[in-house]
């Protein structure tokens, strides 16, 4: 097996473990390259018959391209798509102008809580990676969260030899991270090898491209001429700028990600 095969096998093993342990499970699909790769791996793990829903938390501020991509591939891949929105907050005019932390909390964290409560999910699959952000370097593959979504990063269960925390007591739910050991470069090399579709925003237009996508008002493109996957891979091999440099939520304060994460932000 080569390196990408090893990454893939580990992820598929974790996805199958998660499904074996929790039947009330769903995958979070932000429609970005990582969670799309996650959905791809889930399709591989279950031979194209994804046995659980795929959840998109929609803040209503996403790029047009994201909605189009979502609907096209959800249909092609025969996914059970659940769109989770905090309608009340959206109607009340919540937006980044009211404070970025407040906006992420209401439209992402709260919307996710509502969706979990509504469908009774016991476990969620997420496409986060350790190299994305310092705080994520400390995540486990199976990470328990309490009812309030809090992440007790000081006292996480040990994880060794592919043995993961399997059950939970009471009100906890488990976040499962099958892509934790992948890097941004790995993802792109795998996307290339597997021919996985990704949103057009990642490819350069007029000297700019998005390296990380989320809500339209809070994402800015980076200067780049990488308009093909090969060029993106080349760019990543030489860049000295971090992936989330274009994401406003990371810039606000050094500890904002940690705060968001402890509050349950994905």
């Amino acid at each position: 097996m080569d390196y990408l095969d090893e990454l893939e096998s580990k992820s598929i093993y974790i996805i199958r473990e998660a499904y074996k342990q929790f039947k009330d499970i769903a995958a979070l699909w932000s429609i970005g390259k990582d969670s799309t790769t996650l959905v791809w791996l889930i399709r591989k793990a279950f031979y194209g018959k994804v046995p659980f829903p795929v959840v998109h938390i929609d803040t209503s501020y996403k790029f047009e391209e994201i909605y189009e991509f979502r609907d096209k591939w959800a249909k092609k891949w025969n996914l059970k798509l659940i769109v989770g929105r905090n309608e009340e907050a959206i109607k009340a005019g919540m937006g980044p102008h009211m404070g970025k932390l407040q906006c992420c909390t209401a439209l992402k964290t709260e919307a996710l809580k509502m969706t979990i409560d509504k469908y009774g999910f016991k476990a969620l699959l997420l496409g986060i990676r350790r190299d994305e952000h310092g705080i994520r370097a400390k995540e486990r593959y199976f990470s328990p969260r309490n009812r309030e979504f809090q992440w007790n990063y000081k006292d996480q269960p040990p994880e060794l030899w592919d043995q993961y925390k399997s059950k939970q007591e009471g009100e906890e739910h488990i976040r499962v991270h099958p892509l934790l050991h992948w890097t941004e470069l790995d993802i792109w090399q795998y996307i290339k090898r597997e021919n996985i579709p990704v949103v057009e925003l990642y490819f350069a237009k007029n000297g700019k491209r998005y390296r990380s996508i989320g809500c339209k008002p809070c994402c800015s493109p980076i200067p780049s001429d990488a308009d093909t996957i090969d060029k993106i891979i080349e760019e990543l091999k030489t860049t000295n700028i971090s992936e989330r440099a274009g994401r406003a939520q990371d810039k606000e304060r050094a500890y904002m990600m940690q705060k968001l994460r402890a509050l349950g932000y994905m």
């Binding site: 990408l4 194209g48 310092g134 043995q163």
Partner: protein, 414 residues
């Protein structure tokens, strides 16, 4: 050509300089994004400290303000030869279970020892854990040489103290290197201040390490994870833990002992897959309608079979505040097997730092202690020699739904 990746854990006593060494490795190999250096500078200014490399790794607010690593973190850096995944493990005894989590994923280790303090409690405990995990590629880095005037005598003394202990637990370090992570001596660049040392730098030493050997040639072990019905096909999914699985193989299912043939290897969007190597998560269909379920192990007829036992003896590292108690029922997990077991005896209770036997035939095993333990099962468990099939030679113990201990099977003949 795809680049090679090696996973490296850095362990040692609290404050002996693990995070600083990692920060230095990143800085000297130019692996740090510019804004990361800026962020670290800002944080150091806010905390009123000079630039500290340790903050590159310590990401939690608590870690930075208290100056200790709480949880393990992984980051990445490159040399000419390959990419490294660095696992920073906390040194404080309170967080030993986090250290084990990190170290269990590594292929090589750096054990860091403060030249001015020598071997301490967690140096020994971490070394013991490296031994238990089966890590053979180990560098001892004698750090903070700047604090002892780069003295060869001090280095020799600390080296001897360290290797004497390592010898007792069966670790022969590949290299012993005098360094100053803070000043950058012998990390990426050879030091001008220690002309008496002629061996490799940390980076040169790392580049000589090898990837964990593949087990494609070993006797076949396929661990069943689940069984799916896909379009009328019954696909047995799982992972090849050792050996290479091939279409047409005559296989025996354990624990039932029934025989069948591998008809197909099933992979999504791939036709006519003929074999699956060691480490592969895959799926198969078999010729006969047999009862096959999660936790079953398949092996190839004619090859060495795994052991079926109702009692095993092993060394357990306990990592829970709730002790392991003789007579209690706990959950035993090994590969995809998960079954209840009874703690029959704790033959020895050992201090994981001093390696002293605290008690023989003990009633309890406490947090951070090592025990030679006998476990008994009501049904047979399928296990193997740790060295030939690690995945079937090691296990974890769950108590109250939490992983509370990790162990290696030491006796298969019972």
């Amino acid at each position: 050509m795809e680049r090679e990746h090696l996973k490296l854990v850095i362990v040692g006593h609290v404050d002996h300089g693990k995070s600083t060494l990692i920060g230095r490795l990143f800085f000297d190999t130019d692996s740090l994004p510019k804004e990361k250096i800026e962020e670290v500078k800002q944080i150091c200014e806010a905390l009123g400290k000079e630039l500290e490399f340790a903050y590159v790794m310590d990401h939690l607010e608590e870690e930075r303000s208290q100056g200790i690593t709480i949880d393990t973190a992984q980051t990445f850096f490159k040399t000419e030869k390959r990419d490294y995944v660095i696992i920073d493990a906390p040194g404080h005894r309170e967080f030993t279970k986090n250290m084990i989590t990190g170290a269990s994923q590594a292929e090589a280790a750096i054990l860091i020892v403060d030249a001015s303090e020598g071997v301490r409690e967690q140096t020994r405990r971490h070394a013991y854990i490296l031994g238990m995990l089966g890590l053979k590629q180990v560098i001892v880095a004698v750090n903070k040489m700047d604090l002892v005037d780069y003295s060869e005598n001090v280095f020799n003394e600390v080296s001897k103290q360290t290797t004497d202990f390592l010898e007792r637990i069966g670790i022969a370090p590949t290299y012993i290197i005098p360094i100053s992570a803070k000043e950058g001596d012998n990390v990426a660049k050879a030091s001008d201040r220690m002309k008496w040392y002629t061996g490799p730098t940390i980076l040169q030493a790392l580049d000589t390490f090898k990837k964990t050997e593949k087990r494609d040639e070993n006797p076949l072990r396929f661990a069943v994870q689940d069984v799916y019905n896909i379009d009328g096909k019954r696909i047995i999914v799982g992972r090849v833990e050792a050996g290479t699985l091939r279409v047409g193989d005559n296989i025996i299912v354990l624990p039932t002992g029934e025989e069948t043939t591998v008809e197909t290897i099933e992979e999504f969007l791939k036709e006519d897959v003929k074999e699956a190597p060691s480490g592969k998560s895959t799926g198969i269909t078999v010729a006969d309608k047999l009862f096959i379920d999660r936790g079953h192990i398949l092996y190839r007829k004619g090859e060495k079979a795994p052991h079926l036992l109702k009692e095993i003896k092993g060394n357990i590292f306990w990592m829970s505040k709730e002790p392991l108690v003789v007579g209690e029922k706990v959950v035993f997990k090994c590969s995809t097997q998960e079954l209840p077991c009874t703690v029959k005896a704790i033959e020895k209770r050992i201090d994981s730092s001093t390696l002293e036997i605290i008690e023989e035939n003990a009633e309890k095993l406490e947090n951070r202690e090592v025990g030679e333990v006998v476990l008994s099962f009501s049904t047979e468990v399928i296990v193997d020699d740790f060295n030939s099939t690690p995945d079937l030679g090691r296990f974890v113990i769950e108590k109250n739904y939490n992983i509370s201990g990790g162990g290696i099977i030491t006796h298969l003949e019972r």
